[in-house]
Symmetry: C2
Subunit: 549 residues, 2 copies
């Protein structure tokens, strides 16, 4: 065959590339695609890092975001918080090394989980403006300022102009310049991102100063810190064979039995005894470093056959019903709202998660569309707004799976309705590195659907009440319209004064109308009680809880 | 404030993690989410590597894919090709090191571009079965077999059981075992993936053996290799300031002027002179290693103000009109088809790409839906089928932006129509690492839309012809139904035989009907010519070509 090229020639160009080189070339995968989205991505990364840091330090967050136009498609972004700051000696690894951070190896609910976002901003600033970002940080013990950028080839930080400053400066301030970006007042813009962040973080003060100098203050509506989620050990139902092997081979325990009890939650001595009964061929006294794939596979199978107490629920931090209501009122001020926090569930066998949902109707709910007000789905994961890639998100799948007509919404796209969903978990399975959509995990979709339907039942009662009230009001008005004429005719016939007859008639009609309303309210309440009874059947599929161990 | 945690405590857990650790935890980002999708992802990675290797070696591909069920949600996958093989000393870096390969640093159109896919399969096999993959490779000079897996912590290969085998073995055979996967005959399954691969690679023989032992042979319909795309230098209109700086700082040229001419396509000495006129403040004799961000930024701005010859078109390899027609006929056998290959265009200023589109109607086109046959969009990037995340793909945006009613398709979801789109480029901007959707680049969307509309005009003529023909046929049939009775009556009146009268009448009607058809065909042709005249206005926005340099 002519022109055949051999393998040595083909593979002579074999090279490795660093993770930062990869994302430099594919920055759209981090969320840097499109000018508006790119700017939102920067604000998103900084703001969610600030919220995480404040939460971890136990500080009620005060965050300022300032966006300034500094050239054609060039903006500066400042993000200042009152958090714990970042120690000087590790600033480069935290904000200028891709895949480095405190969050990846932990088993705790937090906004960040990848060790990519902050360093991604540093890189995006470099590749679009050639500039470092400027850092100002104070931890209470010391404070400094510096410039920071990333050496893309080696994925290593480059720090310049480091100076100590007065240690009275507390918190973290990042100022960066970014090119190929645009500030726009759209559904995908910075303002909307901050507004939604305020919705899901009622304990935060957030101030946004837009490029025209206009200031928006989202003031905290609750004064307590959210209950801090506890770091947790993994649940036996949530591990794969490969996880178990990896834990075993890195264990400090000397015996398999103690390794299991030390590594996982809910593994007591009596549970180990149960496991021994199921997998007799495995030696529970063996060194965990010697665990083989086959043995691990048998153990994981045995985990599935064992009854476990559900995962710790205090590892999850939801927004909370009262907090959600307060912010919905604060920001959307709807004529109706209904909020639900479900019980925690698990996906992939044992990863705990909890779903909250809210429906707001009327007032500031819904969004402007070309044909008037329309429905909108407001998505959150670990309280972080998700503005992009909605169509592939588990939340969208769940909401579109709801039969809205059943709940009095004839056309979701043409009613002033906002559906809010927040999914909280130790591990949110994002569909991409840009963390804008939750992967289509069946258990998560199902649970969101149940949460939204919970809320929708309240909406349905409201809508049918509204409908009845409007029908009744129209009947009442019709009758009242004839009261004047009727009273005059009756007065002529009877000789009684028209005013007296009219007053009598009006009071008669009013009292009858009142009874009608009361009867309908009672019927409605009965219906509600029934609906709530039915609901329990929908739930299921959480691991059964034992009463005692 | 109580419970305040300081920065040193928070950051004491700071760690780095390898790219393989990252993707082990987030394997859904590589396409490993859902059992069916995960299996398709494995087949996709191996098959597209085989096609790339054969194309590069100049070998008409013969590929065998065999999927066997070996346990609960466990399957083995074998992928064998007649390609160039992989040299023994680099097999670990090619198939067991994430972010390593021959493709990332090149400027050439190919299916793979990340250096992730093949190693991703090795990792997925490890984390779901604990097994290495088995390799058999022959390059002509030597051949070997080995087992291969990846050390996830270090992102380094682990090779075992390496043996030399008879060097008569040619090509590459990979056999792996995978858990958490499922073979399913769905739109997202392996069979559909292979069928679509055959559609876009008419020069390949592809054999699929499914878990039931059933064999499907997709036989090549063209006997020539696709024209091999040439490796190309980047076009000045496609580089960012950061690109330019990176090229300059790694250049072997001694002067800026020669660096520009050496690095980019279309930069002649006269162009350098033009650039000098625009950016007088930059010294073109300076060492490119000394180029500053400001200077680079000015140069990039000057690039945009200069007239350039469009990028080399021979860097792109499309499927080709004739080839596409041959395979559509082969695989869909529709009653109508229309195929268009557009001229290459550029996006992001200077990255060349070319769009091909085809529309097939009737026959095997469309897909089964619950309400009968419905429309389907078949997406390809660099001839690789994209089966997932369709809703966020530039191709879907473009196709849904077409006003199908204008083209005789009342309801796209309820007609037997297949729309095929292939986007070829040196760099396809995928929205995620899993490479299943093309990012929403406006130039790419616009160009796809024009290509599909081109094809749809043909469809519209066919549909209106079909409609006319069916109206005429029904008129003709109505008349003919009365011919018998009429002839009998006329025979009674005139005494002429019924058969004679009937023959006369039939021939009269037939000839009149023929004239009618001819007149309508002429009117249609005139309409077509007008439509094609209009079309030219739609195109535009390619960089203007100079007649000479």
């Amino acid at each position: 065959m002519p022109n055949v090229v051999d393998a040595d020639t083909i593979f002579k160009e074999l090279k490795s590339h660093s993770i930062s080189e990869f994302f430099r070339k594919n920055s759209q995968m981090l969320g840097y695609s499109g000018k508006v989205r790119s700017l939102t991505t920067v604000v998103h990364e900084y703001a969610s890092n600030s919220l995480d840091a404040c939460e971890e330090a136990g500080i009620l967050p005060d965050i300022t975001v300032e966006v300034k136009k500094i050239g054609d498609d060039k903006y500066s972004v400042l993000n200042r918080d009152n958090g714990p700051g970042i120690p000087q000696k590790i600033i480069g690894r935290v904000l200028a090394t891709v895949l480095s951070g405190t969050k990846f190896h932990r088993y705790i609910q937090q906004r960040g989980q990848q060790g990519i976002g902050g360093s991604g901003c540093t890189m995006f600033s470099l590749i679009t403006t050639g500039k470092p970002i400027h850092i100002k940080s104070g931890t209470g013990k010391s404070a400094y300022e510096c410039d920071l950028t990333i050496d893309i080839k080696s994925n290593k930080p480059v720090i310049t102009n480091m100076v100590d400053i007065d240690k009275s400066f507390r918190g973290l301030e990042i100022r960066g310049e970014f090119g190929e970006v645009k500030y726009e007042a759209s559904d995908h813009g910075v303002y909307e991102y901050i507004r939604r962040t305020a919705l899901s973080n009622p304990h935060a003060n957030i101030r946004l100063i837009d490029p025209e100098g206009k200031e928006y203050n989202f003031v905290r509506s609750v004064m307590e810190m959210p209950v801090r989620p506890k770091p947790s050990k993994p649940h036996p139902l949530g591990v794969t064979t490969n996880d178990l092997l990896e834990f075993a081979h890195n264990s400090e325990s000397r015996k398999l039995s103690s390794f299991l009890a030390d590594t996982f939650t809910r593994v007591s001595q009596s549970k180990v005894a149960d496991l021994k009964d199921i997998v007799k061929e495995v030696d529970f006294d063996k060194d965990p470093h010697q665990l083989s794939w086959d043995e691990a596979e048998k153990l994981v199978k045995a985990f599935k056959e064992t009854k476990w107490i559900a995962p710790d629920l205090d590892t999850l931090s939801a927004i909370g019903e009262e907090q959600t209501k307060a912010t919905i009122k604060n920001i959307l001020n709807p004529t109706f709202m209904s909020v639900v926090e479900r019980k925690p569930k698990v996906f992939r066998g044992g990863i705990p998660f909890v779903v909250e949902a809210g429906i707001a109707y009327g007032g500031g709910a819904g969004k402007e569309t070309s044909v008037g007000q329309g429905g909108v789905v407001i998505r959150f994961a670990n309280k972080v707004p998700l503005l992009f890639d909605g169509s592939i998100c588990a939340i969208a799948s769940a909401v579109s799976g709801v039969d809205w007509k059943r709940y009095g919404i004839k056309d979701f796209d043409a009613e002033p309705v906002s559906v809010l969903v927040n999914v909280s978990s130790v591990y949110v399975p994002y569909s991409g590195v840009g963390k804008q959509a939750i992967a289509q995990e069946p258990e998560i979709i199902e649970e969101i659907k149940l949460a939204v339907m919970d809320c929708a039942r309240g909406l349905q009662r409201y809508m049918s009440g509204e409908k009845n009230r409007s029908v009744q009001a129209s009947k009442y008005n019709t009758i009242m319209r004839y009261v004047g004429q009727l009273s005059e005719n009756l007065s002529e016939i009877t000789g009684v004064k028209k005013d007296e007859i009219e007053a009598e008639l009006r009071s008669l009609i009013d009292s009858r109308y009142k009874k009608l309303l009361e009867a309908e309210a009672a019927a409605e309440a009965k219906e509600t009680a029934q609906a709530e009874g039915e609901e329990e059947e929908d739930v299921g599929d959480a691991p059964e809880e034992e009463s005692a161990e």
